[in-house]
C-alpha cells in the first residue's frame, strides 16, 4: 500500500469518487429495503395459512406463499432484517474490539503486541464454521449466539490489519512529532493514528460483513442459526428445498436475495479498495512492452561502423487528457568501439531512449515517430519497427544487451544465478547444457567473480550488490552483443564498488574482440568523463547538447550543461575550469512533460535566457565542423550556423 504520509482526516468525506456512487447506491438500497418492510407489505412473516401452502404469486402475495402458506415477500424482507442485523452487529463488534486491540498492540508494543498477535494466530487456526458449531453446541442456537460467535471469529482479522497499519503509521513523522510534543496517548491513538488506518479497516469491514452473512445463512440453513419461526434467508432455503420440484420460486427468491446482498457488499468493497489504493488500478490491459514502430521515411545510409541509431525519436505517454510527448526529436548515433554517455536529471528521458532501442518500452508509452535502427550480427541494419515479435526476441540479448540500475532486483530471486545465465545462452544458441554451463562459468570469471563454479549454483540473495551487477554484466555478454546499454549501472552501489564496475566495463571494452559499443546512461559527470568518448545531455525529453566528451564537459555551450557541471561536486581536476570553484544548485525543477513552457524548455531556469527564447523552441544547431550540436539560441553554434 503506497502511503501518503500526511494526516488525512476527511479524505473519504471531502469528495466521494464517482466510482463509489453506483456500488454505494446498490449497497444502501439492499440494506435499506428489508428495513422498510412494513412500508412495502402489510403481511405477517410468521402468519401460517396451511390452506394456501405453496401458492403462486397473487395480488395479495406478490411472491407467493411458502410451504406453510406464509407470505414469501414478508419473509424475504424480514429475513433480510435478521440476517443483516446479525451480520452487521457482529461485524461492528468485531471491528471495534479488533481495531482497539490492534491499535493498543501497535502503539504500546511489548506484552500488548504479544497478546494481540498470538490471540489472532490461535483463532485463525480454526475453520470458521467449525468454531461456530462448537460454540452453538455449548450455548444452543439463536441470534444472540450467532452474534457472539461471529464477533469472536472476526475480531482477529481486524486486530491484524489495525496492528500492521498502525505500526506503519505510528513510525511516520507527524506521529513521532506529536508524541514528542507530549500529546496524551489516547489523543494520538484515536485522533491521529485511527483516521489514518480507517481505509484498510473499512475495506476489512465490508469483507467481514459479507463473510458474516454467508456464515449466518449457512448456519441457519443447517438449522443451527436463527431459531424458527423467526425468518432468515438460510432457513427459507432449507425449508424450500424439499419442495423445489413443485415450487422452484421458493429456493430462487432467498438465493437471489442472499447472493445479491453479498455481491453488493463485495462490489462496494472492491471499489473502496481501488479508490483507497489506486496503485491497483490498471490502464489498458496491454502487454507490458510497447512495440517499436517502423519509420515512415527511409533514413540516410549509415556508415559501416554505426552499430545503432536513433533518428528523430518521439515517444508519447497515454494520458486521460490526450497523449503527452515524453521524448521529442531525439537522435543519437552509436558507433563500434565507442562509448556514448547519455546524461541528465531523472525524468529527462535517458532511460526511455535506451529502452526504446531494446524494444522494451513500457506499455503506456507509444512510439509516435522516428526510427530505431540496429545493426544485426549479419551486418544488416534493421529498423526495429519492421521486426516481428519473434525477431525482436532474437535481437534482444543477442545483438544488443542491457544492464540495469538495480542489481538487487534485476535478478530473479528464486532461480540460481547460473540457471539465469544458461537460459539466456540457450535462447540464442542451441547447445548442450554442459557447454552452456562452461560458457557461463567462464563469463563469471571474466567479470571478476571469485569461485565462479560455486557462484554458478548460488542464489542472487547470497551475493552483494556489486557481485550481482557483475553477474548482470556477464549475463549481458553471454551472446556477444555489439551494443551494450548500461542504464545507471553504478547508481545503486557503494562508491568503491562503483569504481570497480566502471573499471570492469572499461576493461571489457578493450578486451572485446569485435569492438563493443557502449551506451552509458548516468547522471554522474565524473564517471562519464572517465569512460565516455561522446556525451549527449538530455533535458525534458530532448537532447540539448551533444559532442565529444572532452569538449562538452570542458567548454559546455548549453546553459543547462553549464548548470549541471556547476551543481556537481567533483574531484576531477579537468572539470574545475568549467565551473570555477563554486558548487551551485540549479534553481527550479525540470518541467513536467505536459507543462513545458513555450519556446525553449529550459528558459524558466536559464540564467542567460532572452525574451525571444519564448517565441519558438530552439532547433539543434550544428557546430562549424559538425562535431558538436547544441539546442540553444545563445550558443556559439547558433551564431556560426546563422553566419553560414
Amino acid at each position: 500500500m503506497t502511503a501518503i504520509p500526511v494526516p488525512q482526516k476527511s479524505r473519504l468525506l471531502s469528495a466521494i469518487p464517482r466510482r463509489m456512487i453506483l456500488p454505494g447506491i446498490l449497497l444502501a438500497a439492499l440494506i435499506l429495503i428489508p428495513f422498510a418492510a412494513p412500508l412495502i407489505t402489510g403481511a405477517d412473516p410468521v402468519q401460517i395459512s396451511v390452506r394456501d401452502r405453496l401458492a403462486l404469486p397473487s395480488w395479495e402475495h406478490w411472491l407467493g406463499q411458502d410451504e406453510f402458506g406464509r407470505d414469501r415477500l414478508a419473509r424475504v424482507l424480514y429475513g433480510g432484517q435478521v440476517s443483516l442485523t446479525v451480520a452487521f452487529v457482529a461485524t461492528t463488534l468485531a471491528c471495534i474490539v479488533g481495531t482497539l486491540l490492534g491499535l493498543i498492540g501497535a502503539y504500546f508494543r511489548g506484552p500488548f503486541e504479544f497478546v494481540t498477535t498470538r490471540l489472532s494466530d490461535v483463532v485463525l487456526c480454526f475453520p470458521p464454521i467449525l468454531l461456530a458449531l462448537l460454540v452453538v453446541t455449548l450455548f444452543g442456537p439463536g441470534a444472540g449466539t450467532l452474534v457472539a460467535v461471529l464477533s469472536v471469529l472476526y475480531f482477529p482479522s481486524f486486530a491484524r490489519i489495525a496492528f500492521s497499519e498502525a505500526l506503519r503509521v505510528s513510525s511516520l513523522d507527524f506521529v513521532e512529532a506529536s508524541r514528542a510534543l507530549g500529546t496524551p496517548s489516547h489523543r494520538i491513538v484515536l485522533g491521529t493514528i485511527l483516521p489514518n488506518i480507517a481505509g484498510p479497516v473499512s475495506v476489512q469491514y465490508s469483507l467481514t460483513a459479507a463473510a458474516a452473512i454467508t456464515i449466518e445463512s449457512g448456519l441457519s440453513f443447517l438449522g443451527l442459526g436463527v431459531v424458527p419461526p423467526a425468518p432468515s434467508w438460510g432457513q427459507m432455503i432449507r425449508g424450500a428445498r424439499q419442495f423445489m420440484n413443485q415450487d422452484p420460486l421458493g429456493i430462487l427468491i432467498p438465493c437471489v436475495a442472499l447472493t445479491l446482498t453479498i455481491y453488493a457488499i463485495n462490489f462496494f468493497c472492491d471499489r473502496l479498495r481501488d479508490t483507497l489504493d489506486p496503485k491497483g488500478a490498471l490502464g489498458g490491459g496491454k502487454d507490458e512492452t510497447s512495440v517499436p514502430v517502423a519509420a515512415r521515411v527511409t533514413p540516410p545510409d549509415e556508415t559501416a561502423d554505426v552499430v545503432a541509431s536513433i533518428r528523430d525519436l518521439r515517444l508519447q505517454l497515454a494520458r486521460p487528457g490526450g497523449p503527452v510527448d515524453v521524448i521529442q526529436d531525439v537522435s543519437l548515433t552509436l558507433r563500434a568501439n565507442q562509448c556514448t554517455a547519455l546524461v541528465g536529471e531523472s525524468g529527462s528521458g535517458k532511460s526511455l531512449s535506451s529502452l526504446a532501442l531494446m524494444g522494451l518500452l513500457p506499455g503506456a508509452i507509444r512510439q509516435a515517430g522516428g526510427a530505431l535502427r540496429l545493426r544485426r550480427k549479419s551486418g544488416q541494419m534493421v529498423d526495429l519497427g519492421t521486426l516481428t515479435a519473434k525477431e525482436l526476441e532474437d535481437v534482444r540479448g543477442n545483438d544488443v544487451a542491457m544492464i540495469f540500475q538495480e542489481p538487487m532486483t534485476s535478478l530473479n530471486p528464486i532461480h540460481k544465478v547460473g540457471a539465469q545465465m544458461v537460459e539466456a545462452i540457450l535462447s540464442h544458441r542451441p547447445m548442450p547444457y554442459a557447454d552452456a554451463r562452461t560458457r557461463a562459468i567462464d563469463l563469471l570469471e571474466l567479470v571478476g567473480i571469485n569461485e565462479p563454479a560455486r557462484r554458478f549454483d548460488g542464489y542472487p540473495h547470497e551475493m552483494s550488490g556489486g557481485m550481482r551487477q557483475r553477474v548482470m554484466i556477464a549475463m549481458a555478454l553471454t551472446c556477444e552483443p555489439r551494443l551494450l546499454i548500461a542504464d545507471e549501472p553504478t547508481t545503486a552501489l557503494d562508491v568503491t564498488i562503483q569504481a570497480e564496475i566502471i573499471e570492469l566495463l572499461q576493461r571489457l571494452r578493450t578486451e572485446y574482440a569485435d569492438g563493443l559499443s557502449l551506451l552509458f546512461i548516468s547522471h554522474n559527470l565524473g564517471i562519464v568523463s572517465e569512460i565516455a568518448d561522446r556525451v549527449a545531455v538530455m533535458y525534458s525529453g530532448q537532447v540539448v547538447e551533444e559532442g565529444p566528451v572532452s569538449q562538452v564537459l570542458n567548454t559546455p555551450h548549453h546553459p543547462y550543461t553549464v548548470a549541471l557541471l556547476e551543481s556537481m561536486p567533483s574531484s576531477h581536476e579537468e572539470l574545475h575550469s568549467a565551473r570555477g570553484d563554486r558548487l551551485r544548485a540549479i534553481s527550479g525543477t525540470p518541467p513536467l512533460p505536459d507543462a513545458r513552457p513555450s519556446g525553449c524548455a529550459f528558459r524558466d531556469r536559464c540564467p542567460i535566457a532572452i525574451p525571444s527564447c519564448a517565441d519558438a523552441p530552439p532547433p539543434l544547431f550544428n557546430s562549424a565542423d559538425g562535431d558538436r550540436k547544441v539546442r540553444c539560441f545563445r550558443a556559439p553554434e547558433a551564431g556560426s550556423e546563422a553566419a553560414r
Partner: protein
C-alpha cells in the same frame, strides 16, 4: 534446511497444544455444570442420576488439571472416547467418514487449480484488458454465491430440471464405481467453484504484481521467448502466494464442506458433526474439531515447506 524443518515442526506442535488447550477450556469456562448443560436438549431437565453418570463418564468429577492431562494424553493417542448419545467409538466414526470428506475436498481442489490458475494467469497478464474485466466480473459474481446456495441450485438444475445427475447420496467406490463418481460430480464441483474464485483472484493479483518486477524486464532483455518469461519469471514467482492461499483455504474448506455435504447428503464428517451439535454430543464435536484443526495445522506445515522449496529466501527467515 534441516533447522528450518525442525523449527516449523516445533511451531506446529506448539500450535496443536494451544488449540487442544482452548478446546478443553471451553468446556470449563461454560457457566454452570457442563454435564447438566449437555443433557438439557429437550427443554426438560435430565435426571440427577443421568447427570452423575455423564459426569463420571466424561471424567468431570476429577480435578481440572487431571482432566486436562488425561485429555491431552488421550488425544495424542487418538482416543477420543465414546459418544454420550449412543456410546459408540468416536475414533471409529471419524475414521469411517473423514476419507469421504477428504475425497470431495481433494477432487474439488484439483478441479479448481486446473481451471483457476490458467485463467487467473491470463487475466493477470492482461490486467485491465477485456479478458481480465470479463473474467474478474464473473469471478466477483461467483464469489458472492455461498456454497450451499450453489449446491441447492445445482441440485435444482442438474437433478430436477435436466435430470442428468443424482441429487445426492453416497455409494462406496468399491460397491459401484460409476455410481460413486456420478454422485461425486456435484459436491466436488461445488467445492471447486468456491475455491476457484479465491485461487483466481490470488493468481491474478500475484501475476499482476510479479510481471512488474525488474527481473521480468531482465528476462525479456535477455531475449527469452515470451512463453518462457511468463513461465519461469512470472508464474513460477507468483505461485508462492497462491500456494499459501490454497493451504489456508483447504483448512477453511474442511469446515465449510459441512454445508456442501449437508446439501448433497454426502455422509462425510459433516453428518456426524451436525447430528452431534444437534444432540449436544460434546465429546464427538470436540474430537471432530480437534481432528480438523490438526489437519489444518498439518496442511499449513506442508505449505510452508513447499513454499520454501519454491522460494529459497524463505528458509533464511
Amino acid at each position: 534446511m534441516l533447522a528450518f524443518l525442525l523449527r516449523r515442526v516445533a511451531a506446529a506442535i506448539a500450535m496443536l497444544l494451544v488449540v487442544g488447550t482452548i478446546i478443553f477450556s471451553l468446556l470449563v469456562i461454560v457457566p454452570g455444570d457442563p454435564a447438566e448443560l449437555l443433557l438439557s436438549t429437550g427443554g426438560g431437565s435430565a435426571t440427577q442420576e443421568a447427570i452423575q453418570n455423564l459426569r463420571s463418564e466424561m471424567g468431570l468429577d476429577k480435578p481440572i488439571l487431571a482432566q486436562y492431562f488425561s485429555f491431552l494424553i488421550n488425544t495424542a493417542r487418538f482416543e477420543f472416547g465414546t459418544s454420550i448419545v449412543d456410546g459408540s467409538s468416536i475414533a471409529d466414526a471419524i475414521a469411517l467418514r473423514l476419507p469421504r470428506t477428504l475425497e470431495i475436498i481433494g477432487v474439488g481442489t484439483v478441479l479448481a487449480l486446473i481451471v483457476a490458475i490458467p485463467v487467473g494467469t491470463l487475466a493477470g497478464l492482461r490486467g485491465g484488458g477485456r479478458f481480465d474485466v470479463i473474467a474478474s466480473g464473473v469471478n466477483a459474481l461467483l464469489t458472492s454465491i455461498p456454497g450451499f446456495v450453489v449446491g441447492t441450485l445445482f441440485i435444482y438444475f442438474f437433478a430436477q430440471v435436466l435430470r442428468v445427475l443424482p441429487a445426492g447420496g453416497y455409494v462406496a467406490f468399491s460397491d459401484d464405481p460409476a455410481q460413486h463418481l456420478q454422485m461425486l460430480v456435484l459436491p466436488a464441483t461445488t467445492v471447486a467453484l468456491h475455491l476457484a474464485t479465491i485461487i483466481f483472484r490470488m493468481t491474478r493479483a500475484s501475476v499482476l504484481e510479479m510481471r512488474g518486477h525488474d527481473w521480468v524486464r531482465t528476462a525479456t532483455a535477455k531475449g527469452l521467448r515470451r512463453s518462457l518469461v511468463v513461465r519461469r519469471h512470472i508464474l513460477r514467482n507468483a505461485l508462492g502466494p497462491v500456494i499459501t492461499v490454497v493451504g489456508l483455504q483447504l483448512g477453511i474448506l474442511l469446515g465449510s464442506t459441512v454445508l456442501v455435504e449437508f446439501v448433497y447428503n454426502w455422509p462425510g464428517l459433516s453428518g456426524l458433526l451436525v447430528t452431534a451439535v444437534e444432540q449436544r454430543d460434546y465429546p464427538t464435536v470436540r474430537a471432530i474439531i480437534l481432528t480438523v484443526a490438526a489437519i489444518f495445522i498439518g496442511i499449513n506445515l506442508v505449505i510452508d515447506i513447499l513454499y520454501s522449496l519454491l522460494d529459497p529466501r524463505i528458509r533464511l527467515k
